[in-house]
Subunit: 485 residues, 2 copies
Amino acid sequence: MGSEMTAAVAIHSINPKVLKCEYTVRGEIDTYTQNLEQELQTNPGSLPFDEIIYCSIGNPQALGQQPITFFHEVLALCDHPSLLERTDTNTSFSSDSIARACQILNLFPGKATGAYSHSQGVKGLRDVIAAGIAARDGFPSSSDDIFLTDGATPGVHYMMQLLLRSEADGILCPVPQYPLYSASITLHGGTHVPYYLDEANGWALEISELKKQLENARSKGIIVRALVVINPGNPTGQVLTEENQQQIAEFCKKEDLVLIADEVYQENILAEGKKFNSFKKIFRSMGYGEDVPLVSYHSISKGYYGECGKRGGYMEVTGFSNSVREHIYKVVSVNLCANISGQILTSLVMNPPKPGDASYESYAAERDGILKSLARRAKALEDALNNLEGVTCNKAEGSLFLFPQIHLSEKAIKAAKAAKKEPDAFYALRLLESTGIVVLPGSSFGQVPGTYHFRCSILPQENKIPAIASRLAAFHESFMNQFRD
Amino acid sequence: MGSEMTAAVAIHSINPKVLKCEYTVRGEIDTYTQNLEQELQTNPGSLPFDEIIYCSIGNPQALGQQPITFFHEVLALCDHPSLLERTDTNTSFSSDSIARACQILNLFPGKATGAYSHSQGVKGLRDVIAAGIAARDGFPSSSDDIFLTDGATPGVHYMMQLLLRSEADGILCPVPQYPLYSASITLHGGTHVPYYLDEANGWALEISELKKQLENARSKGIIVRALVVINPGNPTGQVLTEENQQQIAEFCKKEDLVLIADEVYQENILAEGKKFNSFKKIFRSMGYGEDVPLVSYHSISKGYYGECGKRGGYMEVTGFSNSVREHIYKVVSVNLCANISGQILTSLVMNPPKPGDASYESYAAERDGILKSLARRAKALEDALNNLEGVTCNKAEGSLFLFPQIHLSEKAIKAAKAAKKEPDAFYALRLLESTGIVVLPGSSFGQVPGTYHFRCSILPQENKIPAIASRLAAFHESFMNQFRD
């Protein structure tokens, strides 16, 4: 039967958009890492390192970050409300987690958190989230504009699906970018219109570059529908200034573009003097209301909470007509609703304990401990990277990543080509097999042709950073020596 | 600014596939119901009924079905593992829920259930699920073939995305059907090739009808890629016989079709003498292995557990080449992973307490109580419907729904047209406004042109069924009298 195997579905008969889609964050490096993990378990001592150190993806709890106690108390009580009827619960749980769980459970008829909710998410939870957004921005937010999602990802797909009619529709998207955007654009049949962040200027987003790329795309007949901005940046870590954000807002309004604002790292500000401003606040402070469409994404996967596996998040959709919103609602409804635990966690993240609450001090200590440690780790890794020969790394302002440039020799580039690898993938694979440190090649995120980078997360535990720095330095020196021109 | 409003996104500039997509399960009836709920709260006594009775969607816990205690114990412990360190946990939780939670937590490095998992789901949980499938079928299952999903829905989208290249690709899909299928086919740009279930023959799936519709589609140049079978049926409730399933398997093999088997109601068998057989078991018992592609969906939303809001489920993918599977994996990876609570619950559903386990007796009593009550409710509603003038309702064999046909008078059909409604939507809206009973019109699911139906879930609590039956009977009589030709 071999030759007839799967006649129904062959590579040549699957959707070419699926074939074309690239998503290498979980690609070759990931598969290779899984094999090495296996090898370490089955043949300990067979590799030049005894553990894999994940600087690859933003997955804090996988690297030992502890979840926020209050959040998990509330989740457990909501999962199993009969705990609330037991007297020993008063000693095992904080009083405010009990009160919060009761408030939340009262939003569910019969306290049934196992029921489908409204397609946009539980109304009472959206009210809490909208109040959290309003408190953050100083401008009103409505629960009608909130769509709760399983992480930010489905929300991005919804918007691409809505906007992209054919290859003639384009989305302005940064380079480097988080590759969800290019993957989603490809899967929905549109065109990725790249704009380059200015590495020499701290990964700045220059309006002149946006204009240039927009005009270039238009001259090719592309109808540009939206601008994606990732702030704080992934993989680049820059935090936009208020003035820059105002220019971006003006640009979108003038050019009739939807602003798609990926703001999932809004709580991850690493550098002194930097501040996150939501685009919603920028828009409203400029008087932009229902005439300029804005979609803002947030997620429970990042911040100080790092609840990636819970898959929670929201999109706040403003500036769309009611008739278009009805179609967004319809498409969201096909998927019924986001998972309720994620919905609950999203409401907690947007309304954490306040001063005076029983958990406030322990909550604040957990939060600040994580955020301060992340800032120290970022600085230590940034310094370590800048100490390497031929490596330049911009200041880590925000998010969970550094994106250093490596100046590779001609000889290294040739060796990569001979191995049929991108030069930075070649470097990352060599680093992995020599040290167990996993970083992702810049080519997975996009970069100026002829430049090479890697993305390095700041998430390994703080006590491991010195060892990472020294192993990286030793590897880098030997790599540079091996391939010196 | 009114006229310029949202120039960036107007109805005429959104994706026409989104415009064309229909999903009325959460459409007009749903919106109207929400308004009535509001009215009951703000003006009690203003309507001819004092509560809404949801026979519309399959959402058991929203109608008072209690979750299975063991499952929620395990979930709470996994959400908040520090409970396991407290001595009072031994008195508040069953010993096997504690043991199970420990087993599950050991699958997560650092017990971190807040981390992203492997894109297909946690390997150890997939092993448990594969073992559950093997025990169900008597044939092996591999965790490599399991993709854990947020409910069954994303899995359906993945397959449509994979298979549909253009409108020239078609999917054979039953009429009536769960409208996720037609919506997903439309969103992914393919063609819905309908085949009609034989209502006069207990909603039988006739191979002659499949052949006829396949040939008809092929004569129009449509390349038919897959056959969707929903077993037990939604909205129709039929349970296929083993012989019929073998014929379907042969048909798919002969015609090079992927079999897309929606088996989410596999635990909802309502009629004596009926039995669920998975298509995996049918395929393997016929000797079909890697030469016939099969995708089977399951979900934690249905069964006796009804955990809709937790969004858990899996697809088991067999008979695809490795190269095609790599593309499925890639597209799944773009969405990172299914939510971990849903993953855990899926493993529990596929490996519930066994005889001898501490929770077994209470678990079995909860499960059997629900399943037996559902069977009684189905029979009572089926009888009540068959007692109505001009209504015929097939026997409820499985799933959670009845799909009676209503023979409407010419006068009623004319009145519906005058109100710009489908005749069955007109009936359902009248029923809702008179009695508070929510059913969904057959036109949302598809039906033979000129016939009218509605879908009625069997989920209202058992003590409400007599009142539902009598309110329905009184409404129906007055409706028939009002529109007698």
